[in-house]
Symmetry: C2
């Protein structure tokens, strides 16, 4: 509720950033707090996260992962144990220096990620190959001290899940890393209706301390890329630093092989920037907290509210449904639930009751249809499926249209200047070319996709032999 | 797994504190971390919290509460807005002073509780009686800098839910405060099988900033009391400090009426200290992560593992069941799942298969019974119910036996010296008597129970007229 909601939001074509900010505020996903860079997740925003959590948690448990909870603090000396890791994270952590009125002997950082804590624990509980694998996950919040923040996309504190596993062999840890990436990808496509590119990060873009980082990348309305989830294979980088050894099947001491992986509330940012429009949020039915909103018409008239309640009871069996019987006008309610992205609006008034029908309105296409009450549950079920499918297809078409190919440096520069989207181009594998593309073209490598194509023989930047096809782009 | 498990644990009669510590470690509920006072919740410990969360979250949603997420940091100036509150919490908060390499202009504390953040948010989103009530809850961790810590009972960081609501009238906020206390009480009794005393805290023991605090108190094996959940009515203490006003039905500005309430991972400490024994953890079936553990006997023999797997599939429909087909000995497995508190062990070997039967062993009483396979699901269902009921009854009898009455100061002193348990005694309502009882008898007021009795006309401490019957005791 609130006065703001009936006001129009900024059009995305006019000011994409303001459009985004308007949506997160007016759909009541978030509010700002007095702590810079930290956001309040309001009921509608948190319910989205809960739905993401529910599905993801099931998928992780089905594949043998167990949830744990690690402390939110990491002693400075522990953070420093793996040198690439501390270099990557130390500049952006929050430091606790006092407990009550006493200064601490050693500073504690608020976890930016928990590899070091998991490693310390693994080193205590793993002795033999019998103790492996350990497939752990935790749901928590982490803190990274960011200079510039935007709701969901980059906030000082954010919610996520972080998985941490250790294994007997290099093959197993590699398999786990890729299995998780596939879980993330199918979740994005099936539930969030967001098509993703799966691939590997370059050395420059990989996680601090990882041997290899894999990613799913998706394309936003404005043509910018968003890293939507990552999965890291650490090899033995951390297990050597933390001395996590086990007696193998031949009675020899070996370092364990390790992975970590995570998705965050950022996914909600992707949801907004892939599906929403100038009337507000558009939510895929599978993730929408409310799938059908019943708005009674002329609700003061006899029988209307009773009928609406009766329909709610019927629909409950096939969908997440609510009724708004408040004294706001139907028009106000239409706007409110459009803004909040409820996939189907159901209108029922005296005339509909007479004719034994209701009106269904799709949020995504605004299409209206009259449905006989005898077909209600069936139609709602198929309509929700249709909406889910059609949002995915639309996003896929959009991404294809916004994916360009460049085989020369000039062409790449031109595309980057004139178009917004992914650019596919060949790369020699050298950091210098990656840096030149960033400086002179303004794009970063998003990933080396698993589905490689040979667009040319030579690197788009230098004349050396090409080693990989890379997706390049501007990114959040 | 691990070597420690087959070793016996300290007997509770010998050293209750060590018994408790042995259980939390050897049942693999927790591990210590390198941050003093913070614990690691291992899979078995975290699964207990997840089960508590699941039920409690449903109960809160059914009663109209919505989940949100507030930042983990509170600016010092915000914490100071309500004076009793800051006095209560400032001495025990962790202070963040640096973000990355920069010193912050204002210190941030890691939330010890989130009243101030909720108030700041409420003041922005509430304008009229139409906006009320707001019934919010959040699941998160909080930090209180404790000098002496014990797993689950008192830790620097702990997990909890904190509810925060605001209402139009004083009656509504009082009703909410008591409704929640009832939800907590019935959850404890029905799910955790822990009988509780419901009552009000004295002025001295109430929450910093509250008008009234209500509590559920339970009695541990060692005769000490544990505050297991609290619900606070703030009246307008915070809403005045934070200027949370709304236009009422008569068009006048009013301060909103507020509540807050919470339960924590402490409940797991209560579970242990109410039900467990010298063989390890005992878990009420309704909250046990695994309710039935299948241990195949002579599992190398033909048909045993297949039969065990077949039984698992059958039992899955009525209970949370697992099978341990590892190469550990049956004896080792028996000890392991006794230690971990699995309510029913199912043994099945070649002889049982021949006779079309299995052996069921209750964790709580160690009773063994032979059950025909034709009655398997039915018997498991009734047995789980029996165990749940009988744990509750046993705890209730224990509490009644350990509840004493004192009508004179001398008698009270004597009981407190000789016995361990609750002492019911009359009180005049004066702080001086409460303080004298603490200093000279060593007990604190646990609560003024809703079910009052007139044990005497006069205060047990002074000779003034008694106003309340109070439960007194030593407490965690």
């Amino acid at each position: 509720m609130g006065k703001e909601q009936v006001q129009a939001i900024t059009k995305m074509e006019e000011d994409f950033t303001q459009w985004y900010t308007d949506i997160v505020k007016k759909a009541e996903l978030i509010d700002y707090s007095s702590v810079k860079g930290c956001m309040i997740l309001r009921p509608h925003g948190y319910a989205l996260w809960e739905n993401i959590q529910k599905v993801m948690d099931e998928k992780l448990k089905e594949t043998g992962h167990e949830n744990v909870y690690m402390p939110m603090f990491i002693p400075e000396s522990l953070l420093q144990k793996e040198k690439d890791h501390v270099e990557g994270f130390a500049p952006e952590v929050a430091w606790v220096t006092h407990g009550g009125s006493e200064e601490l002997a050693e500073r504690l950082c608020v976890r930016p990620t928990s590899e070091t804590l998991f490693c310390e624990h693994f080193s205590k509980i793993v002795q033999s190959y019998n103790d492996l694998p350990k497939l752990y996950n935790q749901w928590c919040s982490v803190v990274r001290w960011e200079k510039t923040t935007r709701p969901f996309l980059r906030t000082t504190e954010f919610l996520w899940q972080e998985g941490h596993t250790i294994h007997e062999t290099a093959e197993e840890s590699q398999q786990e890393t890729l299995n998780i990436l596939n879980i993330y990808a199918s979740f994005c496509e099936e539930y969030l209706a967001i098509p993703v590119i799966k691939g590997q990060k370059t050395e420059k873009e990989k996680f601090a301390g990882a041997k290899a980082t894999y990613t799913i990348e998706s394309l936003m309305h404005d043509g910018k890329a968003l890293q939507t989830g990552t999965s890291h294979n650490f090899g033995t980088n951390f297990t050597e630093a933390f001395d996590i050894k086990f007696l193998d099947r031949n009675g020899k001491w070996q370092y364990a092989h390790q992975t970590s992986w995570g998705v965050t509330t950022r996914m909600i940012g992707a949801l907004i920037m892939v599906h929403s429009d100038n009337n507000g949020l558009v939510l895929p039915p599978k993730i929408a907290p409310t799938q059908v909103m019943i708005v009674p018409i002329a609700q003061h008239k006899e029988g209307v509210l009773e009928k609406a309640a009766e329909l709610q009871t019927r629909i409950q069996k096939v969908a997440r449904v609510k009724m708004d019987a408040s004294n706001k006008t139907p028009g106000w309610k239409f706007n409110e639930y459009e803004m909040k992205g409820v996939p189907i609006r159901l209108e029922v008034g005296p005339k509909d009751i007479e004719k034994n029908q209701v009106v269904l309105v799709r949020r995504d296409t605004k299409e209206k249809e009259i449905v006989s009450l005898t077909e209600l549950e069936e139609r709602i079920t198929t309509l929700l499926d249709d909406i889910q499918q059609s949002l995915f297809e639309k996003a896929k078409v959009f991404r294809e249209e916004k994916t360009y190919i460049a085989t020369t440096f000039e062409k790449m520069k031109q595309v980057a200047e004139e178009k917004q989207g992914f650019i596919k181009a060949m790369w020699c594998g050298n950091l210098s070319c990656e840096e030149k593309l960033k400086e002179e073209v303004g794009v970063t490598s998003r990933c080396m996709p698993f589905e490689q194509e040979e667009l040319a023989k030579h690197c788009v930047c230098c004349e050396k032999d090409a080693k990989h096809m890379v997706y390049w782009g501007k990114a959040y």
